[in-house]
């Protein structure tokens, strides 16, 4: 399968890349290409120009910034997965990245590319929404920072404008006594999710009650969503099998998964509940481990 014709540009700087986007209204940014090229081969996308930013090496960093971790948009999934800080302190992100595609896709695919593609069944958008990540977007006028809630606008649509480029993700460190986890259910390892859920919980000093719970899921609407009612319910409650089951019931309020060849709406709703329980249990078991735990 061969994509439609396009002009290819390999700019030497971010500035030049932004200028090229401004000049070509139908241009698309190419990073790792692991989402865009298949779409172009299937002719679901047919940009007239590609601006290849994959060689801008200074955008592939992973850097500690004190109260948050900064991840360059061009960091490959594989590099993110094997980063020691992410393994130790962002288990949720590590869980999610490890489930993206397969090894070949993780070698080339970038985290910026994955979130800009904004597939509602993808792994990272859910994890980043739950982690309250911030997205740094650059355009001709400079930088702006968008929260995860505002970043995912609609199906395959983000807050990144046509002549802008996502350059960095900022993931706040978890509070003490936190644990996090991400689960995805798919038929085959490399498939997109039938259901996927991420959670972060922070316990009170007594170790029994939950100070804050964050729960989010994808594959159930045009964008990933937070389970506000379940989050509210768990606040200041002990986390036990009863409250976890009730939170799972509340998690699907407002969920509207599609019925399709991969699974019926009912099946998907059930799986969201199951995964909510599993991820709350795993997150709880990880509390007290360094900043949210390591379990591989």
């Amino acid at each position: 399968m061969i994509p439609k014709k396009f002009d290819y540009y390999s700019p030497g700087s971010l500035k030049e890349a932004i200028r090229l986007l401004r000049q070509n209204e139908e241009a698309k940014v190419l990073a790792g290409g692991q989402s865009l090229l298949p779409l172009m081969k299937l002719r679901l996308a047919a940009p007239t120009a590609l601006v290849d930013i994959s060689k801008l090496a200074d955008l592939s960093y992973i850097r500690d910034e004190g109260n948050y971790l900064a991840i360059g948009a061009l960091a490959a999934h594989d590099a993110v997965e094997h980063d020691v800080t992410i393994k130790d302190r962002f288990t949720l992100i590590n869980d999610a990245v490890a489930r993206i595609g397969d090894q070949q896709v993780r070698n080339l695919g970038t985290i910026g590319g994955s979130v800009c593609h904004a597939d509602p069944a993808a792994d990272l958008p859910v994890a980043l929404l739950v982690a309250d990540a911030r997205f740094v977007i650059e355009g001709e006028g400079g930088k702006r920072i968008v929260t995860a809630r505002d970043f995912f606008v609609d199906l395959f649509t983000t807050a990144v404008g046509h002549d802008e480029i996502l350059t960095e993700l900022q993931v706040p460190y978890l509070a003490e006594r936190s644990g996090s986890a991400y689960f995805k259910h798919s038929l085959r390892e490399a498939d997109f999710a039938i259901a996927n859920v991420g959670t972060i919980i922070t316990m009170e000093g007594d170790g029994k009650r939950c100070r804050e719970a964050r729960i989010g899921f994808g594959s159930a609407g045009p964008t990933p969503v937070r389970a506000a009612s379940a989050e509210q319910y768990l606040r200041e409650r002990p986390l036990d099998e009863g409250t976890i089951a009730e939170a799972a019931e509340r998690a699907i309020e407002g969920a509207s998964p599609p019925s399709d060849v991969h699974g019926s709406r009912e099946y998907r709703l059930k799986m969201i509940k199951v995964l909510t329980q599993r991820s709350l249990r795993l997150a709880l078991s990880r509390v007290g481990l360094a900043g949210g735990g390591v379990e591989r």
């Binding site: 994509p3 014709k5 396009f6 002009d7 290819y8 290409g33 090229l37 081969k41 994959s54 896709v105």
Partner: protein, 175 residues
């Protein structure tokens, strides 16, 4: 993929590319939309790399680019300019099979052989990164390569045997 690169390649023009493959410099002309796998097969006649699904699922087109396994149907040839590529043709030395190829032969790691070039290249990248993989590491390392014949059991066995053979070869100091 780093190194030299073109700044502009026009849709209707052919762009000259120069890519190092199996230690040899290859030149050719491509459209911007030419995928690496078609450049390898159609331009350079390196047909060991197979096209299976052509949508990034099956891994039959896997080659090693700058040390990492990638699917060559999901990379543009112009993106690979300046890269160092290994394809299945680069494994054997003359008539002497590479230890990974030996291991797949000895352990029945293939039947029809269509997926084999991709599996061999994924195995090569995996064992370079992780010379002593567990079974879980192996299964994860090859999850991007579909095989419809073997059921993977003998593929996993082959990768383990290859890991042993390569590690013994290292001990003996041979390449």
């Amino acid at each position: 993929m780093s190194g030299r690169n073109v700044r502009v390649a026009k849709a209707d023009e052919l762009t000259e590319v120069s890519i190092r493959i199996n230690g040899k410099e290859y030149r050719g002309e491509v459209e911007p939309r030419t995928l690496l796998v078609y450049f390898l097969r159609d331009e350079l006649n390196l047909t060991g790399t197979h096209v299976g699904c052509d949508t990034g699922h099956c891994g039959a087109c896997t080659v090693v680019v700058d040390g990492r396994a990638v699917k060559s149907c999901m990379v543009l040839a112009v993106q690979a300019i300046g890269a160092e590529i290994l394809t299945v043709e680069g494994l054997a030395e003359g008539e002497k099979l590479h230890p990974i190829q030996e291991a797949f032969t000895e352990n029945h790691g293939l039947q029809c052989g269509f997926c084999t070039p991709g599996l061999l290249m994924s195995t090569l990248a995996l064992l370079r990164e992780n010379p002593h993989p567990t079974e879980a590491d192996i299964r994860r390392g090859i999850e991007g390569n579909l095989c419809r014949c073997t059921g993977y059991v003998n593929v996993v066995k082959s990768v383990r045997a290859a890991a042993r053979a390569l590690s013994e070869a290292r001990k003996e100091g041979s390449p």
